[in-house]
């Protein structure tokens, strides 16, 4: 594809309850941070994509209510309902269309204002599924059972994901839940829905992220340092859980293969330096790693145990602390992209992965990973020599 880059990122702190901020306040903060980061003003933004969810915002046509804070007045502004990575995908295609040189993409939500379980219960089919009381946690617990059974991954290994990510968050000043945990702490936390304990689940969070995407002509025009978009793909699976093989994630495998191929990556397990994945639940980080080809199938648990995915490991995963340490839905995937941008620019501070050149970010939309969006980013805009 034609070249495009991310030239600015901005994130609010992720918090349990931003009682002082409206949605627009959060968007204002993230957008201005992204503009400062890129060395741009709002006048340099050619078009805007906002990403939000009406139920989490408690307002219909919610995406149009943050246009003011996105600087979208009298500009082409469009909206995506879903994860921020999907908003960013749309923003990228607009920048590549030739009609716009730069796209500002925002994604926000405030879990604190509503009751997430009521919203996720309503995501299930109203004729066949809603009445039996399913919601995001219980559906994902069924998926976790099926994944553990298929791969032999253990509850202890799931707990290690929580220990690692909450520990990583201690270096991230924007994370909501930096914690010193032991495997025992996780296993002794309240069992919500077998096999998922409270500390196997990401928290309810408030937060916003903004990124600025530019085409090649505009990418180097401002003072910010561009990070290049080398491969992007998304893929969806069936809606009904029963129509899928829940113990696997074939749509993620397809999205990842296609994104890595676009980036010219043959063996992602050795060519990727850092990954920010959608760890809404502990088991998901392991399942996604395998589906993306970043680790052999069924082996993520034991690779984690041997330290491969720690900050000093072979492939650091979620060095920022991941979603387990703060999960504003909708913004969640866009934050994964912004974190990879920070890593590739060497600006991740206490959780910087030394000499990170290539990274991958993943976003998820739908129940139990129905659809996935994968972004492969590169520090340099040239083919890396292998070996």
């Amino acid at each position: 594809m034609d070249q495009a880059a991310i030239i600015g990122v901005g994130m609010t702190k992720i918090e349990a309850n931003k009682a002082g901020d409206t949605f627009a306040d959060m968007v204002w903060e993230a957008v201005n941070k992204a503009l400062d980061d890129a060395g741009m003003t709002i006048n340099d933004v050619d078009n805007v994509v906002t990403t939000s969810n009406d139920f989490w915002d408690g307002r219909t046509i919610s995406c149009m209510a943050v246009g003011d804070a996105s600087g979208a007045r009298h500009k082409n502004a469009s909206c995506v309902e879903g994860d921020g990575t999907f908003g960013a995908f749309y923003g990228l295609t607009r920048a590549l269309s030739g009609d716009y040189g730069t796209t500002l993409v925002t994604a926000h939500s405030k879990g604190s204002e509503s009751i997430s379980s009521l919203i996720t219960n309503a995501a299930f089919d109203p004729i066949y599924e809603r009445a039996i009381g399913m919601d995001m946690i219980t559906a994902c617990a069924m998926q976790a059972t099926a994944y553990l059974d298929r791969t032999g991954t253990t509850p202890d290994q799931l707990a290690m994901v929580s220990v690692k990510n909450h520990g990583n968050a201690k270096q991230n000043p924007l994370a909501q839940l930096p914690m010193d945990l032991t495997v025992d702490d996780v296993l002794k936390s309240e069992m919500l829905s077998d096999p998922l304990h409270k500390l196997d689940c990401s928290p309810v969070s408030d937060g916003c992220c903004a990124i600025i995407i530019a085409n090649q002509a505009r990418a180097s025009k401002y003072s910010g340092r561009p990070v290049w978009i080398k491969g992007v793909s998304f893929c969806s699976d069936s809606y009904f859980l029963g129509d899928r093989d829940l113990a696997r994630a074939p749509s993620l495998a397809q999205a990842a293969q296609s994104a890595f191929a676009m980036a010219g990556i043959k063996d992602p397990a050795t060519e990727i330096d850092v990954a920010e994945l959608y760890d809404a639940f502990t088991y998901q980080e392991l399942m996604w790693l395998e589906a993306m080809g970043l680790c052999e199938d069924g082996k993520a648990g034991s690779r984690l145990e041997s330290g491969d995915f720690h900050r000093n490991g072979r492939l650091p995963v979620n060095p920022s602390g991941g979603l387990l340490s703060g999960h504003p839905v909708i913004a969640a995937g866009l934050i994964r992209i912004a974190e990879i941008v920070k890593q590739l620019r060497g600006e991740a501070g206490g959780y910087q992965i030394p000499d990170a050149r290539r990274g991958v970010a993943q976003g998820v939309n739908g129940l139990c990973g129905q659809s996935h969006c994968v972004w492969v980013l590169d520090r340099d805009n040239q083919e890396k020599e292998i070996g």
Partner: protein, 154 residues
């Protein structure tokens, strides 16, 4: 001076949105069979050789209309996924702890989600053979299947 969080107002609200969900022609035939005959019906895609339940009018695999190829399914099946729900929510059909499961009915290729009763939580396992227990009184909904229980020879 900036107001502190304690000075920030929270305005209580509620999105109450009555809604009528149309079951559609295909879903209605499924619900009528469940209500009047205590039968669980699926739909077969002849081309893909797959039997789907819940029924749907189209096959997403080969993108064809399958709305007329109904098949009767057994009221017995096998558990392919489950969890023990341990927290309470207003939308749950029964008081936790309870078992939520994916059940592949005999004769179907795609499991449906439902609840399982009449088994100690610690004995619940994947592969369990279960049988549908129909509700005594119909509500013309999926809850005409009240729950699934282990098969006696299980």
């Amino acid at each position: 001076m900036q107001p502190t969080k304690e000075d920030c107002f929270i305005v209580e609200g509620k999105l109450a949105l009555p809604y009528q969900y149309f079951a559609g022609r295909t879903g209605s035939r499924f619900l009528i069979a469940l209500r009047d005959e205590k039968k669980i019906r699926g739909i077969r895609c002849e081309k893909c050789n797959k039997v789907f339940v819940p029924p749907r009018s189209t096959c997403e695999r080969c993108f064809s209309d399958i709305s007329q190829s109904w098949v009767d399914l057994e009221d017995t099946g096998t558990v392919t996924g489950f969890t023990v729900v341990r927290y309470e929510e207003p939308y749950q059909p029964t008081k936790p702890p309870y078992i939520l499961a994916l059940i592949k009915l005999d004769g179907a290729d795609t499991p449906i989600a439902h609840i399982i009763k009449d088994i100690p939580l610690t004995e619940m396992k994947l592969g369990l053979k279960v049988k549908a227990v129909f509700a005594e009184k119909t509500t013309s909904t999926i809850m005409d299947i009240d729950h699934f229980r282990p098969q006696e020879d299980g």
